[in-house]
């Protein structure tokens, strides 16, 4: 950033001239309109509204202008930046809407299709334990006996 200019006058800061600001604005708007995906729009945002964008760098030079020229330069760059910001937001909204709509189509799942994974079912852990214990005794030569669950009281 240049130091405040108090000593001499006038100073030509070309980056702040009306033509330069307009050109930067046109370039930004063109890039924003040309962006067809959210990624491209992100690149455009970095190039035209980021820390290294021409207009950002230009506003940093305002301090180098003579005091009476600063207000006018600030207004012009400020207005240009606001337009870029607005254009970015609008384009962002449009592209997001477009993406959401295309996702609905490309990631469509027909939930009415037949289910292709039929759970086979399994034996209950208690049943598995019964079998395991019975196996231990069968291995020792025992037989497995079964009986009714309703019995005489005595």
């Amino acid at each position: 950033m240049s130091a405040p200019n108090k000593s001499y006058d006038p100073v030509a800061v070309t980056a702040l001239s009306a033509e330069q600001v307009d050109r930067a604005l046109d370039a930004a708007l063109t890039a924003i309109t040309a962006a067809t995906t959210l990624d491209e729009l992100k690149e455009a945002r970095l190039a035209h509204s980021g820390d290294r964008a021409p207009l950002t760098l230009a506003s940093a030079e305002i301090g180098a202008l003579p005091p009476e020229a600063r207000a006018d330069a600030g207004r012009r760059t400020g207005a240009a930046k606001a337009r870029i910001k607005e254009a970015l937001a609008r384009r962002q909204e449009d592209l997001e809407k477009e993406r959401d709509e295309s996702v609905l189509v490309t990631e469509k799942v027909d939930v009415t299709l037949p289910f292709d994974r039929t759970p086979e079912g399994a034996r209950h852990p208690v049943t598995m334990t019964v079998d395991r214990l019975a196996d231990v005794f069968v291995a020792m030569g025992y037989e497995v006996a079964d009986g009714p669950e309703v019995e005489a009281e005595w």
Partner: protein
């Protein structure tokens, strides 16, 4: 011994079995000697449901009747089953107990399979599984009362027998670190999945 569920109408004389012991008598009456049977099955008790009690649960009982069977044979059978379920190397012990149809009767404890008895030592970390007792009660057992054999028409001078029984859910909970018996009946597949069931 247990709170029993009776079958209607009142005075029917029928009950939902509170243990699988009747199966042992049916086996004694119908099968030839020597007899070695296990009877796993569902049993019913009129108990409130909590983390360790269900009114319907499973038991497995064993009965062996042969010539010359002694408590040593019973200890061997019990040790073999503990080895099979919890891995070899856990000691078991018998302490006197009472069951109506065995004499003498005992309860079977095994060394805690989690702390292996270490939690009993002074200054050791407490063990939640055996409550730092070092032993876990797992089964009841005893030598078949000779009068039971007589009632089944078996000569008690020639034959002797032993019997034992344990709760299936309890064995499952111990072996797999399940803390609430109600998990076994909730029907949640996430519980079964932990046992390798593909659902």
């Amino acid at each position: 011994m247990q709170d029993t569920l009776f079958v209607a109408p009142a005075g029917s004389g029928m009950v939902l079995r509170t243990h699988t012991s009747p199966v042992q008598i049916r086996s004694l009456l119908t099968r030839p000697l020597p007899l070695y049977v296990v009877s796993p099955g569902r049993v019913y008790r009129n108990e409130a449901v909590d983390a360790t009690h269900l009114p319907v649960f499973y038991q497995i009982e064993g009965l062996a009747v042969d010539e010359g069977l002694t408590m040593a044979d019973m200890r061997g059978a019990i040790q073999a089953f503990v080895d099979a379920l919890f891995g070899a190397g856990l000691r078991t012990r018998l302490r006197p107990d009472y069951f109506p149809f065995t004499e003498p009767s005992g309860d079977v404890s095994m060394e805690c399979h989690v702390c292996r008895g270490e939690s009993v030592k002074p200054g050791a970390d407490p063990c939640r599984v055996c409550r730092s007792q070092g032993w876990i009660e797992i089964a009841g057992c005893g030598m078949v009362n000779p009068r039971v054999l007589v009632a089944c028409g078996i000569d008690p001078d020639r034959y002797s027998g032993f019997a034992f029984g344990l709760g299936i859910e309890r064995a499952l909970m111990l072996a797999h670190g399940v803390s609430d018996i109600r998990d076994t009946v909730d029907g949640d597949v996430r519980f079964s999945r932990a046992f390798g069931a593909e659902i």
